[in-house]
């Protein structure tokens, strides 16, 4: 998306094209890696990062804070790490909720 932004086209066009390109690449990666990961669902978190980070970069550039390729990559890496932390927290919360809703028992 950063590369597309450097074309200096209309902001909305760049946003839509950039998002589509980022998601397309993510989807290809998901299908490519799915035999290793076991499923493409495990790519959903990186899809989130692929959607949000390009928008952050675009909005920042719209407000006058210009990003270079290295800056954009840094923001992407930081966002990925933060989302990784969020997933750990969310997963723990969800498992706790499950344990409360369906306490372990076996049907005879």
């Amino acid at each position: 998306m950063q590369w597309l932004h450097q074309l200096e086209w209309n902001f909305l066009v760049l946003s839509v094209l950039g998002m589509a390109a980022a998601m397309g690449i993510q989807m290809l990666m998901a299908f490519g890696l799915s035999p290793l990961l076991g499923s493409i669902e495990t790519m959903a978190p990186s899809m989130v990062v692929a959607m949000i980070v390009p928008m952050l970069v675009d909005v920042s550039e719209l407000s006058g804070w210009m990003f270079g390729g290295f800056d954009a990559a840094t923001v992407g890496a930081a966002s990925g790490f933060l989302f990784f932390v969020y997933l750990g927290w969310y997963g723990a919360i969800f498992r706790r909720r499950l344990a409360r809703a369906w306490p372990a028992k076996e049907v005879k």
Partner: protein, 168 residues
Amino acid sequence: MHGQVLFLAVGTGVDITRFPAGQTIIGIDISVEMLRRAEARRRAYRGQIAFVLGDAERLAFGDGSFDTVVSSCTMCSVPHPVVALKQLYRVLRPGGRLLMFEHVRSGSWPLGLALDVMTLWTRLLGTEMNRDTVANVLTAGFQIVRIESVYLDIILSIHAVKPINREV
């Protein structure tokens, strides 16, 4: 898994390698090609498996024919999941078990949104990644016994039963 088992949507049969030995299973799939691909795994299974060409939404089995129904990543691809689940309910005997391994929409808004967006693409390949399968299981009349998280709240192992004293 016990008694007469219905295995819904055989696919390539990769799940068969994980089934406990010695079961009596009927596996169905809507695709002849998939059943053909699964044939080697069927032969390798140490138990009895028969394959039947069939549609999950129109099961050609009598009411209460099975003790256990097993599905793996199926409800994302069935056009009308509640219709299929009601068919599973019908062919299970009262007290019979429904064992599912399914991926569903996440309750987390960023993850749910990502799955909604991914579905725009994956739908073209025949799979929906944002279904509320737990709600669909309940709608079909099952009682949920246990849900286990395999991956966050996206990939779930769902264990449900057909109530003994209730019909939909």
